[in-house]
Structure formats: structure tokens, C-alpha cells
């Protein structure tokens, strides 16, 4: 039997995997009855509101809360002096819950109020009088990099940092919070061998995550000192740890429950309103809800780091890139933004996972400024680095008059190659995704342009690779009940990606039961086991494996008990729809019959164990990037790499700079599509979010203050203007993935910006070097090109 036949046979044996099973949360969400974090409320709950800084940088002279405290209906008012004097942060402890003596960006929390109603809380917040002495500020990242710059964190040398991210204090660059450096081969000699040198500077803007549900938390201080928090977070255990750090409460005494989450995209891995809600609940002794407004989400949560990327390539005549030198500067904003430090480091993975460059140097620097903090964002630094690299690949092709696809193929990394950080590459199916997009994009066809008029047509392409981080871990527990139901306990929040459905499919597959038999608990750190969170496109792989193992464990226990009951060896038994049947025999028993009923018939139990519990955990140990050398300590630094190819067709108006995106093709190798419809949804969603960052999304600062912190002035793509996105799914299995699956969440966002910029060049000859690609920038580039031609 050939391997293809074997594979086909295996697939036909799969009952739920690979099927577009209807989402398990569909009914609740379609009928509007699903409870999201923002919907959640408790009896006697107070409403909290935060007083925020109007200055990008100022000293706090005095906070007068008298008028607020005496307002009728106000139950608690807090400032920095009422909460623990501690700084928090996942990777650098630099962030105060409430500013104590200095504010560092517009929108920073200064004080907070809890009151009987939201209206009273709002009124009270306006009654708090804060006296400031404004300080000089800096929001331009390259200015903040200078020695003479305004210093954002004079105490930076005293801050505590997590072990993987030591702060390197550089007296010449006082605002640099993190610096990652790696060198591979010899860059100088590489350049001396080059026939051409191509160098460019690329930029990206501050983009907001734009999760539909604004950040929100409800906190209750229990009488015995424990704390309960309801927060639609991407990572309940991360929230628990942060609250523990801030309030110095043992983690077991903090309970985080996550309702449905209306999107997160990286922002909600970090605490936003949770600490303030807890502090207000402690002070008022009542439950407190702190729900941010859309404006507060813009000004006071996180943004995608704006990057400046300098890239210099030495290229041989045949298109081989012999040397590459990259300098990446991240505008980190006022604080570490939770995961900002690791965005600074992890953006390296986007730069070393597609092309094989013999001599390579990479420096990334995260710089504090008085802008809103940068944090984790779908793509996690890869998107910004890919923007520069994939524009650069076209620049090289244009300069050397080489084929754009050929130059990419020529420089590809192959299985077995060592990449620049010392990883041995596994087989990453770059060729496959390129082929599939080219079938649609048809670059070989003659250009179809208009005979006259201002519109020009163009096609663009980008090849990117998204990593999934390691080491991380996910655990799952299943509890099989006597009414033929299985409850799955996981701490993976359903953030909209369809993960609850994926877990249900996997558990139902292993127990060979209907998907409807599975109930997914929803995260509650008191009951559900550890999970690293909804990040890095990791949950289908990590939690998927954990769910599979937990279900297999439960199945094994069922078989053992049935074997004893039926006096048939386990190997002769199979489970099907909650019945254990003898192969080639007549004996059978229902799972419910394995349980004993209590005399009152109020419940059932299993002799010996009480419950039927299956457990699973998946974790992967890999090397880490040595902070000194930048190189991986083993031959693997990530869980896996996922290849993505993006092709676009556009029309550009040479008179106005307006662009119409006609078609987007996105191919990604997901290993195995456990739920093909969900995979398509993730691809479309990722591409459209990427489209937003590519063409219109930008949080604009003027005088240090965001001026478009609302949905009228901050532009996002709308369904009416969104082109058809064709999702192309490839399935070359991942060795350790559940049924061969990899993650899909982030890959689709990584290639759309450079593909569009390259298409504009194809249409008009003009290149824009910074996103978003606004009509104004496109027109300026077209006019510049026209001038150069003259």
C-alpha cells in the first residue's frame, strides 16, 4: 500500500477531525445570549472609573480627591498612595498600577473611583483635581534614541527584569530598555563579495488591536482575603500571576474566571483594568466592574509597536543575498507593555526563517518614549520585520532586473540548513505555498491594464514565515459522567477563533462519541488546569495535544473497567457512542453501567476513583536565545515554523493615489485543518486585519496626544470595502501536531502589507516605504517617481 493510500485510509477513519463541524458556541452567540466579559455583572456591584493623564510627560504635584470622595454614591477613591507601591510587568517590572509621581503618556491611570453607578463614578473622576508640572516629552523613536533625549525612566537601572530579558543599561542611550543582537558569518566580508548593495529604510505605524469588546474586569474581594476576578482575558493564568505580583497575594488565593472574549489579538494577554478593579474592590468591600470605553482602549491599553527598520543587503549578480545587515528600532511607548521586551527579541524569528543568508547581522532595540505602550499583537514583531524584508526582496529584484519569485526561491532556507540563530531547519513548505498562490496570481500572464484613464493595475507577492513560541505548556482534564457527557476542563478562553469547537472535535474523536457529548468548561483557575494562553498561534497544537491525551487517558480507563466487567481483554474491546463492544463478539456494556448509583439516585460514582478523570499535558522543551550571543542554545528555538504566501491584485489611481484591492490570495500550510471552515475564517480574519494595518489603521499622535482615538477618525476596513479573500489551505503534517496540525492564527497577517506595496510598484513604478499605504503617500510616491523620470 502506498503512503498516499495509507494516509487516505487513515483520514476516512477520522470521524470529526477535518470536518467543518458547526461551532459549539454558535447558538449562544447568534442569539445574543453568550455572556462576554463586558456583559458580566454581580449583585451590589459598583462601577469603577479611571482618572487619566492629559499630559504625555509630567510630574504629579498634587492629587485632590476630596470633592470626589464626598460625592453622594461614591464608595472608594484610590490613588497610588492607596495601593501597593510596586511596579509590575511580565518581562520588566516597570509599570505602576496608578502613577505615583510622574505620568509618562496621555491616558495613563492616575486615580480611580468606585461608585453606585457609572454616572456617579464619571462625575467623581472629573471632580478629582490633579496638579501637574509638564515635562519635556519625546514620541519620535529616533529622537528618543539620542543621548541627549528626555529620559522616560530615570530609575530603569533599578527595575527588576525576568531572566530571559536582562535590561542592558546603555549610558549613551538612556531610553533603550532592551537590545537583542545576533551575528552569523562575517557581514563585512560578505558585503565585500557582493556585486550590488541595496539598502532601504522602512517604517510601520502604531496600530490598535481593535478587539470588538473593550477591556473589562469585575473583581470581588472575598471575606477571607481571597480575590475573584472575571476577565475576558487571553491568558487567565497570566492575569493571576500579575495580580499576585502586584498585591503580594499567593496565586492560589486568586481566582480568575474568563467568560467569552470579544477578541484579543495580543492586547488582552496583559492586564488592563484588572488591578484597578481589584484595588477598588478591596477598598470598597464590594464587587467592582471597571469597563474601559473604546477611547480608553485606544489611549490606555496597548498598540502594535511602530518599527523603523534599516535593511542593507549585499547581493551577487545572480540574486544570491550574500550579506544582510538589519537594524530594527521599536517605539516601545512609555512602558514595557507586558510582552514588549519579547516582541523586541522575537521579531528575529521573522528575519531568519525564510531565507538562507550566509552573513547576517540583526540588532533590535526597544526604546521608551512618551507614546502609548507597545505590546503583543497578532504577528508579534514578525509582521513589521516581514514588511521590510518582503519589500526589500522586490527592491532587489527590480534593481537587478531579476524575477521576483526566482530571487526568493534562490535564497530559500531548506530542511537541514542552519539558520542565522543556529537552528537546524525542519522542512518548511515554502515551495508549496508559493506554487499555490502563483496558480491564482498568474504572474506569467500578460498585464491586463486599462487603455486610458488614471487607473493602473498591478500584482504583488510576499513570502513569510510565522513561528510558534516555545517553551510553553497546556494541560487539559476531562471528566466522563454517567449520563454520557464529557466535561472538558481547559484554561483556553474562547476568544472567537473557534477553539472550543476544535477541542470538542478532538475529545469526541478520541472517545468516538458525538461532538455534542462534549461540554467545554471555560477557564476558571480554581478548577481548570494550567495553560499558557491564547497566543503565538499555539492552542490547536498545544491544547489540542493536551485534549487528545486527556481523552485517550479517559478512554483507556473506560476500556480497563469494561474489560473487568465483561471479562474480555482490552485489546478486543472498542468504544463507540458511549458503548463498549466486543470486536467479533456479542458482549457489550454502556459507559453508564460502569458507574454505581447512589441509593437516592441523586448521582453516580465509580468504585475506586469516584470520578472518571482523564489528564493530558503537552509541553515542549527547546533551547533559548542566549542574551549575550543571540544564538539558540540548541538546534531549535521555536515549536514550529508555518509558511505563508500572499498574492494581491490591485488598481491604483495615478491622479489621486487611491487604491482598490481587487483580490487577495493567502496560502498557508496548517499541517491539518481540524475544522476547515474555522481555518478559512482565521485566514480571512488575519488577512483583513493585516489589510487594515496596510492601508488605513494608524493611531496618530499630535503634541504627544492621540487625536483619532475613536472609530470615526481611526479607519478600519469595513465589510463593504473588503475584497474577496481566497484562503488556500495546505496540509503537510507537523510531526508532533494533533493529527498533524499546526497553528493558523497569526500567519495570514504577516504578508499582506508588503504584497500590497509591491503591487503598487508593479502598477505605477512608485514605492511607499511606510504603512499605512494612504492615498496621500501613494500619490506623493507617484509624483516623486514622475519627477525622477524627467
Amino acid at each position: 500500500m502506498s503512503t498516499t493510500q495509507q494516509q487516505e485510509e487513515r483520514e476516512t477513519l477520522l470521524r470529526h477531525i477535518g470536518k467543518s463541524v458547526t461551532r459549539v458556541d454558535l447558538k449562544a452567540k447568534m442569539t445574543g445570549r453568550a455572556i462576554y466579559g463586558y456583559d458580566f455583572s454581580l449583585p451590589h456591584m459598583l462601577h469603577g472609573k479611571i482618572k487619566r493623564s492629559p499630559y504625555p510627560h509630567a510630574r504629579i504635584l498634587k492629587i485632590d480627591t476630596e470633592a470626589a470622595r464626598t460625592l453622594n454614591g461614591v464608595r472608594a477613591v484610590i490613588t497610588a498612595w492607596d495601593v501597593p507601591n510596586s511596579l509590575y510587568g511580565v518581562m520588566l517590572k516597570d509599570t505602576p498600577m496608578l502613577a505615583r509621581d510622574r505620568v509618562r503618556y496621555v491616558g495613563e491611570a492616575v486615580a480611580a473611583v468606585a461608585a453606585d453607578s457609572l454616572e456617579i463614578a464619571e462625575e467623581a473622576v472629573d471632580l478629582i483635581k490633579v496638579e501637574y508640572a509638564p515635562l519635556p516629552y519625546v514620541t519620535n523613536v529616533e529622537k528618543a534614541l539620542e543621548k541627549e533625549s528626555v529620559v522616560i525612566h530615570p530609575d530603569l537601572p533599578t527595575y527588576k527584569a525576568g531572566p530571559p530579558f536582562p535590561v542592558r543599561i546603555d549610558p549613551n542611550r538612556p531610553n533603550v530598555g532592551n537590545h537583542y543582537h545576533v551575528e552569523h558569518g562575517n557581514v563585512e566580508s560578505g558585503f565585500s563579495e557582493a556585486d550590488f548593495v541595496v539598502q532601504n529604510r522602512f517604517e510601520t505605524a502604531a496600530m490598535q488591536h481593535m478587539h470588538l469588546e473593550p477591556s473589562c474586569a469585575v473583581a470581588r474581594a472575598e471575606p477571607d482575603g481571597r480575590v475573584t476576578i472575571w476577565s475576558a482575558t487571553q491568558s487567565p493564568y497570566m492575569i493571576r500571576q500579575q495580580i499576585s505580583d502586584i498585591f503580594q497575594i499567593s496565586t492560589s488565593r486568586i481566582r480568575v474566571i474568563a467568560p467569552y472574549e470579544g477578541g484579543g489579538f495580543g492586547s488582552r494577554l496583559e492586564v488592563h483594568s484588572e488591578p484597578v478593579a481589584v484595588a477598588l474592590a478591596m477598598k470598597s468591600r464590594k464587587p467592582v466592574k471597571v469597563a474601559l470605553t473604546r477611547e480608553e482602549v485606544f489611549t490606555s491599553t496597548l498598540v502594535r509597536h511602530p518599527f523603523v527598520v534599516y535593511i542593507k543587503d549585499g547581493v551577487k549578480r545572480d540574486g544570491t543575498i550574500i550579506a544582510r545587515d538589519m537594524k530594527v528600532i521599536l517605539n516601545g511607548g512609555a512602558y514595557s507593555g507586558g510582552f514588549g521586551m519579547s516582541v523586541c527579541r522575537n521579531c528575529i524569528f521573522g528575519a531568519v526563517s525564510t531565507y538562507n543568508i550566509a552573513n547576517f547581522r540583526f540588532d533590535s532595540i526597544r526604546v521608551f518614549t512618551n507614546a502609548p505602550p507597545g505590546g503583543a499583537f497578532r504577528g508579534y514583531g514578525s509582521t513589521q520585520v516581514d514588511w521590510a524584508i518582503e519589500c526589500q526582496m522586490d527592491c532587489i529584484a527590480n534593481e537587478l532586473h531579476l524575477d521576483k519569485i526566482q530571487i526568493r526561491r534562490r535564497n530559500l532556507l531548506h530542511a537541514g540548513d542552519r539558520n542565522a540563530i543556529g537552528e537546524t531547519m525542519k522542512d518548511v513548505n515554502h515551495h508549496g505555498v508559493v506554487e499555490r498562490v502563483l496558480e491564482k496570481l498568474r504572474l506569467d500572464e500578460p498585464r491586463q491594464d486599462y487603455d486610458s484613464g488614471p487607473w493602473r493595475r498591478g500584482k504583488g507577492f510576499a513570502l513569510t514565515t510565522k513561528y510558534t513560541t516555545a517553551p510553553t505548556a497546556s494541560a487539559a482534564t476531562v471528566r466522563v459522567l454517567d449520563d454520557h457527557t464529557v466535561i472538558l476542563f481547559v484554561s483556553g478562553t474562547e476568544i472567537g477563533a473557534g477553539s472550543d469547537t476544535i477541542y470538542s472535535q478532538i475529545v469526541a474523536e478520541e472517545l468516538n462519541c458525538p461532538v455534542e457529548s462534549v461540554i467545554v468548561s471555560g477557564p476558571d483557575t480554581m478548577f481548570t488546569p494550567f495553560d499558557d494562553g491564547a497566543n503565538s498561534s499555539r492552542r490547536t497544537y498545544y491544547l489540542g495535544n493536551a485534549c487528545r491525551m486527556a481523552a485517550q487517558d479517559a478512554r483507556q480507563q473506560i476500556l480497563e473497567r469494561a474489560s473487568r466487567a465483561l471479562q474480555v481483554p482490552e485489546s478486543n474491546l472498542m468504544v463507540e457512542d458511549w458503548k463498549i463492544v466486543e470486536r467479533n463478539g456479542s458482549k457489550s456494556i454502556k459507559v453508564s453501567e460502569l458507574f454505581l448509583k447512589d441509593q437516592t439516585r441523586s448521582g453516580a460514582f465509580l468504585p475506586g476513583s469516584g470520578d472518571l478523570i482523564g489528564r493530558g499535558v503537552w509541553h515542549e522543551r527547546v533551547g533559548f536565545l542566549d542574551p549575550v550571543t543571540g544564538r539558540c542554545t540548541t538546534d531549535r528555538a521555536v515549536t514550529y515554523y508555518t509558511p505563508v504566501a500572499t498574492g494581491v491584485e490591485v488598481e491604483v489611481n495615478e491622479e489621486t493615489g487611491f487604491m482598490r484591492v481587487l483580490n487577495i490570495y493567502c496560502a498557508i500550510d496548517v499541517g491539518k485543518a481540524i475544522n476547515p471552515l474555522s481555518v478559512e475564517g482565521q485566514i480571512e480574519g488575519g488577512v483583513v486585519q493585516g489589510l487594515g494595518g496596510a492601508i488605513c489603521e494608524e493611531l496618530i499622535l499630535q503634541d504627544g496626544k492621540p487625536i483619532n482615538a475613536n472609530l470615526a477618525d481611526y479607519k478600519v476596513p469595513l465589510s463593504l470595502g473588503t475584497p474577496h479573500v481566497q484562503a488556500i489551505v495546505l496540509e503537510s503534517p507537523e510531526a508532533n501536531g494533533p493529527y498533524g496540525a499546526r497553528g493558523v492564527g497569526e500567519g495570514p497577517i504577516t504578508g499582506i502589507s508588503p504584497a500590497l506595496a509591491n503591487a503598487i510598484v508593479d502598477a505605477t513604478g512608485a514605492r511607499v516605504y511606510d504603512i499605512p499605504l494612504t492615498p496621500e503617500k501613494i500619490l506623493a510616491a507617484i509624483n516623486l517617481k514622475a519627477k525622477q523620470r524627467k
Binding site: A121, E122, Q702, I707, A712, D713, G721, T774, P775
Partner: protein, 305 residues
């Protein structure tokens, strides 16, 4: 000058919470409330703009909202001279009204209605609100100005008729006097041989205009331009007619060259910077949108001969 997106106090927390909401039963009662309360009372039509402006603290504090929905101002009527639109008519009602679809020469109006995209907004936003909120980015006013629309206003001293052109004075400011309300918009029936178009430049498919333009042309029997009305919105605080462009068009054959020459003057207009674009960019594309709108209006006028 204020723009959408600028001068917002992003850190103020209190929201718009008027103290009173009243439904006058008659026009007289409405006028009496508006006269006695002054700026503290404000007409609420669809509310799509009022809440936005109040939350951004861009209008004086409002204590009382006056809802005109019960005084019979929602209608579209027509006579041989004109089409009459009650000020409380919603954009959806207007879009779906057969008179609007059947009248020749008012393409600018139907264009502008189709450019206003979100159906949820069209279902509540009103013709009167589009005009009296005096927002420079709205799409209906330039189209109506091009069509030479008149306004019938009623107030404590009786009623008066005025041209829509010139009624909007500046950003968020129109010539609505104390106690006055807009009763009706009157669009004179276009003559045979006239055609009109409205176009818009917008960043997303559901957006305020970067610039918009309404054009109405009337041709004589030789297809020469008898009269031209060209109105540009989004440049400054109020939509404005471009008289230089109009003068250059009149008496020409409206050849492409004539139109291009005339449209050049659109870029001479002073433009304000906005969140979405610089004034230089707006200047460079004003002549383009102006040219394209005139070209289309000409085609429609030729079809109406």
C-alpha cells in the same frame, strides 16, 4: 478651526447626559421651547451627529433635547415647480421615495444618498439634520446646493425662505436663529437639458468624505453650458460654491479641455488639514474630483435633452 478628531478631550470621563427630552405636539410649541431655552435646548432629529458632537464637547452644553418627530415634518411632496422634502424625512425614506427616483436631473441627490452607506444611519438620520448640524463632511448639502435648494425656516417671527447656499456659515455653525427650526427643503424641478452628479473621495467604504463635490449643469439647445453650479465639500468649514470654476464653464461647449481648465480653479480654494489628509493633498485632488463630477454631469445633461 476644529475638525473631527482634533481637540477631543480624550481624558474627560463624563458622557453626554441631557436632563430632559421633550416631544412638542405642534410646531408652535416646538418654537416656543426653542425660543425660551436658547442654546440649552437642541433639536434632536436622528441623533447620529448630536451625540457624537456632545460627547466630544464640541457644542455648548445641552440640557434639553427637543424631538420633532410628532409634528408631521416627515414627507416628500411634489408639484410642477418643485420637490418639497420635510426636514424630519429620514435618508432611507428619501432614498426609497418614488418621486426622488422618477425626477429627471436630480442625479446629484440620488448619488449622494447612495454614497451615504450605513443603512443603520440612513434609517434614522434626517434631511434636516444633515443640513442643520453644519458638519462639513456630510454628503447631502453639496448635492442640494448644486441643485439650488431653498430652505423654509419657521420661527417666533413667522417663516422665511433662504438659499441653502450660504445657510451653512462655518464648521458647526449655520444661520439658524434663536427659536427657529427648519421645516422644509425645496428643490426646484431641474429644467430640460440639465444634469447633475455628486461624487466623493473617502478612505474606507463607509466613511465621512475627504472631499465631496456636487455639480449641476444646464445646457442650451446647442449643448453649450447655459448655467453651472459646482459645490465642493470638505475643503473648509462649510460646503462652498466654486464661482471661478462655474464662470469658466458657462458658455463653453464643455469639451474635456474646457472642463479640465475650469476644474483647475478648484485647487485654488483654501483647504484645511484633517486627520485623514494634509491640505496640500486635498488641493491636489480637488481638481480631479471636480473634473470627474463635471464630466459626469455633462453626460447626464446630454441625456436629458
Amino acid at each position: 478651526m476644529l475638525k473631527l478628531g482634533i481637540a477631543i478631550d480624550t481624558v474627560a470621563s463624563s458622557r453626554f447626559r441631557p436632563e430632559d427630552y421633550v416631544f412638542p405636539a405642534t410646531m408652535e410649541e416646538a418654537i416656543s421651547i426653542l425660543s425660551s431655552e436658547g442654546e440649552k435646548a437642541r433639536i434632536i432629529a436622528g441623533g447620529t451627529m448630536l451625540f457624537e458632537l456632545a460627547e466630544r464637547k464640541m457644542i455648548p452644553e445641552v440640557k434639553k433635547l427637543v424631538d420633532l418627530s410628532r409634528i408631521g415634518l416627515s414627507y416628500v411632496a411634489s408639484d410642477p415647480e418643485a420637490i418639497r422634502i420635510g426636514s424630519l424625512t429620514t435618508l432611507s425614506e428619501l432614498t426609497n421615495h418614488e418621486t426622488i427616483g422618477q425626477t429627471r436631473g436630480i442625479g446629484a441627490l440620488t448619488d449622494s444618498l447612495s454614497w451615504i452607506r450605513p443603512i443603520q444611519v440612513k434609517n434614522v438620520a434626517t434631511v434636516g439634520g444633515e443640513i442643520c448640524s453644519a458638519t462639513p463632511l456630510f454628503d447631502l448639502p453639496p448635492a442640494l446646493i448644486a441643485l439650488n435648494a431653498k430652505l423654509i425656516l419657521v420661527g417666533p417671527n413667522g417663516s422665511r425662505t433662504t438659499d441653502l447656499d450660504g445657510f451653512v456659515l462655518d464648521y458647526l455653525l449655520c444661520d439658524l436663529r434663536q427659536g427657529e427650526l427648519l421645516k422644509e427643503v425645496v428643490i426646484p424641478r431641474p429644467k430640460k437639458g440639465s444634469g447633475s452628479t455628486f461624487t466623493k473621495l473617502e478612505r474606507t467604504a463607509n466613511d465621512f468624505a475627504l472631499l465631496n463635490c456636487g455639480v449641476a449643469l444646464e445646457l442650451d439647445k446647442e449643448a453649450k453650458c447655459r448655467s453651472a453650479c459646482v459645490c465642493l465639500g470638505g475643503a473648509l468649514g462649510a460646503p462652498s460654491r466654486l464661482s471661478k470654476v462655474e464662470n469658466k464653464l458657462v458658455k463653453t461647449n464643455l469639451s474635456r479641455q474646457d472642463i479640465e481648465k475650469a476644474a483647475e480653479f478648484a485647487s485654488e480654494v483654501q483647504m484645511s488639514q484633517s486627520v485623514q489628509a494634509s491640505s496640500a493633498y486635498k488641493k491636489s485632488v480637488a481638481k480631479i474630483i471636480c473634473r470627474d463630477t463635471i464630466l459626469s454631469a455633462k453626460e447626464r445633461a446630454l441625456d436629458n435633452n
